[in-house]
Structure formats: C-alpha cells, structure tokens
C-alpha cells in the first residue's frame, strides 16, 4: 500500500505542543513589546507616555488599559476570555479594558487556534503577564507613599494602601511604573483564585456590538486600495492539472483583468496548499464569479479518478476479514487472551459501525487577501494558523517568511479547516503575478469540493460480557483513511482482554482536522457499542459504564502514544449527568434517554440526551444534559456555556444528516441544498450544563463537548425504539416503530 497523499490527521500533535508549552514555558520574549525589533530593550518600555510592561498590556496616563489578544478568534471566545485572565491578575476594571487583536508577532508566543489548546497553553502565561504589570503598579504606588508593597492592593484600576485608605489610579502610576525594572514573570505573586472577581463571571464577547451592527471584522470584509478580486478554479477531481483553458474568451469578458493557469503544487505532492488551477482576476467579486461560469478547462489526471465511496466501503469489508499479521493490518494493542474470553463469555455481540466523510462548511467561505510587493508581502486572512499562512506564502513566493506580515481577522467559523492556508497560497501566487492586492474568494462549491475533510471510517467490533455481566473482551478493527486510534483508546486499560487493529485504505482524499478530530467519531462508536454490551448484559447503561470505569483514579498511559486517563474525573461526570438528567425514570415507548461520555482535548464530559421518536420515525431531541470537567476554573461562564451548547448542537448537526458522497475522485455535493445542515427547528429544545470543578489546570472547550453527543442521541434512540443506529448519518436509519 503506497503512502497516502495527505498525512494522516494526528490529533496528538497538538497535545505534544501543549506538553511542551506546559513544562516550564519560557516567557522571556513576552517582555518585548509587539511591533518593536528584537533588539528593543527588554523590560519596561514607554512610548507616548504609555506603560508597556510586556507584549500584552499597555496602560495610558488616562488609566485606559489595552490588552492584546494573540490567538485567532474563531467563535471560541478567546478574544474575550484570555484578556479577562490578564485583567483579573492586573486588577484592572474590565470596563476600562480595550481588547486589540494582535498581528502575527513572535513577541506573543504561539498564535494558533486549534486543539482546544489556547486556554491550557496560555492561561498561566496570561496570569503572569497581568501579575507582572500589577506588581510594577503596586511598587510604583508603594514608592510614592513610602510604604511596604505588601500593604497595597490593586483592584478595579486603582492601587489602594489598605491601612490608610489612600489610593492612586493606574493612570497616575504610569509614569513612575515605566521607570521600574521589569520583574521576573516566573516569580511574581499570582492571585489566590478564591479572590477572583472577574474570572468565572458572565462576560459578553468584546466584539458583540460590532458583530450585531455588521462591522468589517471578518476576512471577507477586508479591502485595500487598488485591490482586485480573484477566483481560482481547481480540478473537480483531486490532483488533476489544467492542460488548457479558454483564457482568451475569459479575458474579454466584462470586468475581467486577467486569466491564467497556475501549474504548481506547493508544498510538492500535497493537496492542502497551492494546487494547480485557473485564476480569473476582475474588478469585482461578481465580475469574477460571472466570468467563471464561462470558464472551460481541460483537466488531466487525478489519481483517484475512478475511486468512489462504495469502493472504499467494499475494500473496508474485505480488510475486516483479514487476520492480524496480514499486510495492511496493524495490531495497535493486545491484552489478555481474547479468543478464550469470547469462548467463555455469557454473551458475545458483533457489530460494524461506519460514518462518512463530512465537510467543515465554514459559513464564511474560504478567502484571503494578499499584497505582494517585490520580496515583501502582507496577508489579511481568517486563519487559525497565521504562522502557517506566513510559511506557506513564503514557500509559494520564494521569499523569506520574515518578509511577510500577517493580520489575523475574525474568522467566520474554524472547526479546524482554517489550520490550513490554501486560500492564502492562491492569493499570494496571483498577487505576485499582478503586483496589486488580491482577494481570493471561494464560492460554496469550492468549499465543499476542496475542503480537507473529516475522514469517513469503518469499525468492526466484537465484544463480550461474562456471567457477572462485566465487559470481558473487546476486539476492534478500525479501517479508515489514516487511522489515529492509539493503543490507549478507550476502553483499553479497562477491559482484561482487548485487541485493537487498524488498517488504512489507499486514498487521495484531502483530509484535515474537524472539530475534535478522531474523538468526534470514536466516541460514537465506543459509547454505542458499550451500550449494546450493557443491554446484552441486562444492565443499566450508567451502572454498567460506571462499573467499567472501575475503582482506580488515575490510570497511567501505556505505549508510545499513551496518555493518562483520570477515571475518577470520568466517573464523577457520569454520576452527575445521571443524577441531573433524572436517569432511570420510566418513559413511554417512543421516548428514551441515552448516555455518551468521552475524554478528549483534556476535558472529561458526559452527556445524556432525551429524545422522542414518532411511530413514523421522526426524531426530536428534547433535552440534553451535560456534566463538564475542564478543571478548576471556568474563565468566562457565558462563553464556556456557549461553547458547550454549541458543541452539543453541532454534534447533533454532524451526526443527523451530514454526509458527502465521493464519486470518481470528487465530492458530489456543491451547496447546502445537497447537504442538509441542522436548522433551528431541529435544535435541542433544552440544554442544561453542570460544571464539575476539580483541582486540575483549566483546559479548553472548543471541542471536547462535541464527541459525547452523537452516542447519547443514538443510545436514546435505541431506548425509545429498540433500533440501533450503526451508520452515520442517523438519517440513513429508518427509525419508525410499531
């Protein structure tokens, strides 16, 4: 089997980054104010009377505080939450804080938004940034009064001398604080979390008023003087090249400035950067779109021109019959004696689960604005990965990355798609040729047909329960397009006899991370099959799963990709969700409750869905209850709840009806009329969230609340109807009952 064209999605690469960041993060570079040269004096800088204790904070003599938001805002609320952390430690009055979106600058440290990592990677750093600035303000006040620093406190933008009640506003202290040497951020005193007054409260998004008035926040809204509008037609079959096109005709159409073929692939052999295509440049978006309707291209090649989803499914079925040791079948883990366990089991259950490729469907179609001038360039893009945009554009343009500036705009939906920067590669190549600012605008068909998809997959499962009703054996063969199931995937380590096999089908389908990569499907397979086994054992699913989670607290990781699993945290969220949802209550036929729980992106989350299925098979999700443990501190209660509410609803969105069809090396769907998305009438009628706070570092919420939803709903459907959903989307299963 030859190597896939695209690298398998490695959901752990982000975790590696996090681990690096978590262990003794060097924060020295933060003391260089953004936008100043590397040689700028480290420590405290003051220009225009501002107090600039580090890259993230500027305080003006009038007391106004500016906090820089370094991470891209994709809707996860990071532009509000991390500045709240700074403001809390600083002792600022939130009402006097202005949040400024940072451009890409080494002074800010890592600036990507992915893997739900912004909070775990930046929380402590942001605390230290705020605390370092507060330390200087307090020192300045103490020196002014000639009193010990320990007698002074900073709160609501004021430093107070507690014994005498004297106070000075931050603005009054700016001049003096600017003369003091910067403290070591790693030794500044942090607040005791019990004294927090801002963190954990409900704070509205800092851009809310601009969002509701239609201000130009997004990538698509950006304009530059002299800008032209471009579309870029890529081959409908991935990997094909344009041999020729009716360029002379296109160039003669109204408003068209240029049309040309780009026959390059950057990086070589990849489908997620610049790929060959035809560019049309025009005076307006509509002129470019209109001209494109008349474009005729002769395409050549495309490795998968004869491959279709049905072929993949057939190959997967054949692969499932292969024994371990067969070429193409990797044994990720083997515990105990699985054959003996099955032979001696009270009940054995076999099932196969499958799910399709799906699309990110960011509502803001992919776009980027790039201006290349000689060996320099500027990018304005809705990117989750601005450093990636810079590096890719540098490769396309053949100029050094440091010659490229990146402005990170607000992003109309990320979900992982915008960790790749193909639109910026296209805009860079086109702008280099024309020498003017170019905005590349994808249409919806481009988005569907040139996405980097959530891969489909097939899981062939066999499990058993023993005479006591306990899970005794679990055998899983995952056939996919780049499996990233690891040897520790649940319920590994919790069942004595366990085998995990993985196989990858050859494919050239571009893939990428889709919200909670891996987990977004593995949770469904795992929790649904566990539900089957609980019923086979004749046990209540909550009780069965709590028993499976056992009585150990922290279960160590095993193997090269092993991760510890905190069973105590998981048991607690399962117990809480069972209690709060009223688990166990008697429901009439056609109504049911189901449990899903999963550990992903450092969060321990359990959800119970309550559904109604009419005899005709119409599904309504009446209520979802979630119990969420993401550590000791919720940063912004409003934003955190919004993420969980959205993840639950998006989980339903993905599972219910979403499905791409791959025919002859291309995606068939071109717009929403062929790809039903969840709309307001189908959203859960009620969502309840219960926070379980544990003494663990705060972690992110962009992803981990999504995976448990699909199994919760499918298990509830079984409880309501007796019908198992073993194939996604749910809409493929007839749910009618009599």
């Amino acid at each position: 089997m030859s190597a896939p064209l695209t690298a398998p999605v490695d959901r752990r690469s982000f975790l590696k980054l996090a681990a690096m960041a978590g262990g003794g993060l060097v924060i020295g570079y933060y003391v260089r104010p953004a936008g100043l040269a590397e040689t700028a004096k480290p420590g405290v800088e003051s220009t225009d009377g501002l107090f600039i204790p580090n890259a993230f904070i500027r305080i003006a003599p009038d007391g106004s505080v500016s906090v820089y938001s370094a991470r891209p805002e994709v809707g996860q609320g990071i532009k509000t939450s991390l500045p709240m952390v700074v403001a809390e430690e600083l002792g600022a009055d939130w009402k006097s804080v202005t949040v400024i979106s940072a451009t890409l600058d080494d002074a800010f440290g890592p600036q990507f938004a992915g893997g739900s990592l912004s909070t775990p990677m930046s929380y402590e750093t942001m605390r230290k940034m705020g605390a370092a600035a507060r330390t200087l303000l307090v020192r300045a006040a103490a020196l002014t009064w000639g009193v010990p620093e320990g007698e002074c406190v900073a709160e609501k933008g004021v430093v107070r001398h507690t014994p005498t009640g004297r106070s000075l506003r931050f603005g009054d202290l700016v001049a003096k604080a600017s003369t003091l040497p910067a403290p070591d951020e790693n030794s500044v005193r942090l607040k005791d979390p019990k004294d927090f007054t801002l963190l954990g409260t409900r704070v509205g998004g800092v851009d809310n008023s601009r969002v509701v008035t239609g201000q130009p926040l997004f990538g698509i809204d950006q304009k530059r003087p002299g800008m032209l509008f471009a579309v870029y037609e890529k081959a409908p079959v991935w990997g094909a090249r344009p041999l020729s096109a009716n360029l002379d005709h296109i160039k003669g159409l109204p408003g068209v400035r240029d049309a040309f073929i780009i026959d390059r692939t950057v990086p070589a052999g990849q489908l997620t950067g610049l790929v060959p295509g035809v560019a049309i440049v025009a005076d307006s978006t509509w002129a470019a779109f209109s001209a494109r309707n008349e474009l005729q291209v002769n395409w050549e090649g495309g490795r998968l021109a004869n491959s279709s989803w049905d072929d993949f499914a057939r190959q997967a079925g054949e692969m499932a019959k292969a024994a371990p040791g067969t070429p193409g079948v990797a044994e990720e883990r083997r515990d105990g004696d699985i054959d003996r366990a099955f032979a001696g089991a009270a009940r054995v259950v076999e099932a196969s689960y499958s799910y399709p490729f799906i699309s990110h469907t960011n509502l803001e179609p992919q776009n980027s604005l790039v201006h290349v001038q000689g060996d320099r360039a500027e990018i304005w893009a809705p990117t989750q990965n601005p450093d990636g945009a810079r590096k890719l554009a540098a490769q396309v343009l053949g100029i050094p990355p440091e010659n490229i500036q990146v402005t990170i705009t607000r992003i109309g939906g990320g979900f992982g798609r915008r960790l790749d920067n193909d639109p910026s590669a296209e805009a860079a190549a086109i702008s280099q040729r024309l020498g003017v600012p170019i905005k590349v605008m994808w249409n919806r068909a481009d988005d569907f047909q040139h996405d980097h998809y959530r891969p489909g997959g097939f899981h062939f499962l066999k499990g058993s329960v023993d005479s006591t009703g306990a899970l005794s054996a679990w055998r899983s063969h995952h056939v996919s397009f780049g499996s990233n199931m690891g040897s520790d995937d649940y319920p590994a380590r919790f069942v004595p006899n366990y085998v995990l096999l993985t196989s990858n089908l050859e494919n050239g389908v571009p893939q990428g991370p889709w919200r909670a990569p891996g987990s977004n499907t593995y949770a469904w397979v795992t929790c649904c099959f566990l539900d089957e086994l609980a019923h086979a054992a004749g046990r209540d699913p909550v009780e069965f799963n709590l028993a499976l989670l056992g009585d150990r607290d922290l279960v160590a990781g095993t193997g090269p990709r092993g991760r510890p699993y905190n069973a105590a945290r998981m048991r607690q969220v399962v117990r809480v969700v069972a209690e709060k949802s009223g688990w166990g209550k008697t429901l009439p036929r056609g109504k049911g409750m189901g449990l899903g729980y999963y550990f992903s992106h450092q969060g321990y989350i359990a959800e119970v869905a309550e559904v109604t299925v009419t005899p005709a098979g119409a599904l309504t999700v009446e209520r979802v209850v979630g119990a969420v443990d993401v550590g000791s501190q919720i940063v912004n209660l409003s934003g955190a709840e919004n993420q969980v509410q959205g993840s639950i609803t998006d989980g339903l969105n993905a599972a219910w009806r979403q499905e791409l069809d791959i025919q002859k090396g291309r995606v068939v769907q071109s717009n929403f009329h062929e790809y039903p998305m969840l709309r307001i009438p189908d959203a859960p009628r009620a969502i309840e969230i219960h926070w379980v706070r544990t003494d663990n570092p705060p972690t992110g919420l962009g992803e981990p609340a999504l995976p448990p939803l699909a199994p919760a709903v499918c298990n509830a459907i079984f409880a309501a109807t007796g019908k198992r959903v073993r194939q996604l989307p749910i809409s493929r299963t007839d749910l009618s009952w009599t």
């Binding site: 996860q76 998004g205 509509w286 509502l363 109309g412 919806r444 509410q645 717009n671």
Partner: protein, 160 residues
C-alpha cells in the same frame, strides 16, 4: 453596465453595475456595506438577509435591478446606535460565537418581531428556519428573540 439608484438605509446611492449583479455584491463591493454576508449564493443559508420595504429578502438572489425603487435596509441600518431590541438582547445574552451568520439572523428576527411582537417557539422556528448558524447557536438565538420581545414590551410600557 447600467446605472441604478438605490435607497439603502435611508440614503440614496447611484451605482454602475451589470443589471444581473446580486444586491449582495453591490452592497459589499460598491457601497462598502459588508455586514451583509455571502454564504452560499443560492438562498440556502440566509447570511445575506436584508429588508426590502420591510420584508426579509435574500440579497444573493435579488438582482440589483429588482432593488431599485424599494427601501433597502441592511444590518448597518437596522437601528441608530445599535439600540434595536434584538441587538441589545444579542449583546446581553452573548448570542454570537463566530458571528458570521448573525447579521442575517438579526434581519430575519427583526422582520418576525415587526409582524409578531411576542412570537412562540414554534413561530420562531418557522421564521428562522432559513437561517443557518454553523456554530449552532440556535439555543441562544431562540432565547435572544424572546428577550428582545420582552425588551420591546417593556419599552412600549414606558412609552404609554
């Protein structure tokens, strides 16, 4: 190319564009009113919802020639000083996530409240079913419309 005179948010604008150009792109490219968003181009997502003489319409399907002689209202003109009850409710309840669809959501909701000041959940579902929210903030959109209805009722009481 043809000249068209448009009444947008109470102001008159003259544009010179191809007659079939969708109002969406005239607003965005010619008039610099970029609050109206492009999502699908075929009326399936409603991110481009504007009001034509007070009725919600998809700007991506409205040729500029059909927008002449009617009053066009975009999100930028929904209220003076972002004080429409829906805008206040959206900020108060922190409805948006990425925010890209919200201009369209607000324009659809504003048209709903104009004809039904206190809509039921069912009425909200019916009026808002055309509007996609990829972040799936539907739970808060529903709550936001109810909150706006309450804010409107409260200010109506103050006036009377």
């Amino acid at each position: 190319m043809s000249k068209f005179t448009l009444q947008v948010n109470g102001r008159s604008h003259e544009v010179d564009v191809a007659p079939e150009t969708p109002l969406l792109w005239v607003l965005r490219d010619n008039l610099d009113l970029v609050g109206t968003k492009f999502g699908c181009g075929i009326g399936q997502c409603a991110a481009c919802t504007v009001h034509l003489d007070g009725s919600p319409a998809r700007a991506c399907l409205t040729p500029v020639s059909a927008a002449e002689g009617v009053k066009v209202t975009t999100i930028e003109g929904l209220s003076a000083g972002s004080q429409h009850p829906l805008q206040r409710a959206w900020c108060e309840l922190d409805v948006a996530q990425c925010g890209y669809c919200q201009a369209g959501q607000l324009m659809s909701a504003a048209a709903l409240l104009a004809r039904n000041p206190d809509p039921s959940d069912a009425a909200i579902d019916e009026a808002m079913a055309g509007n996609l929210c990829r972040c799936a903030t539907y739970y808060r959109i529903r709550a936001g419309i109810h909150r706006a209805a309450a804010l409107s009722a409260a200010s109506a009481e103050v006036r009377t």
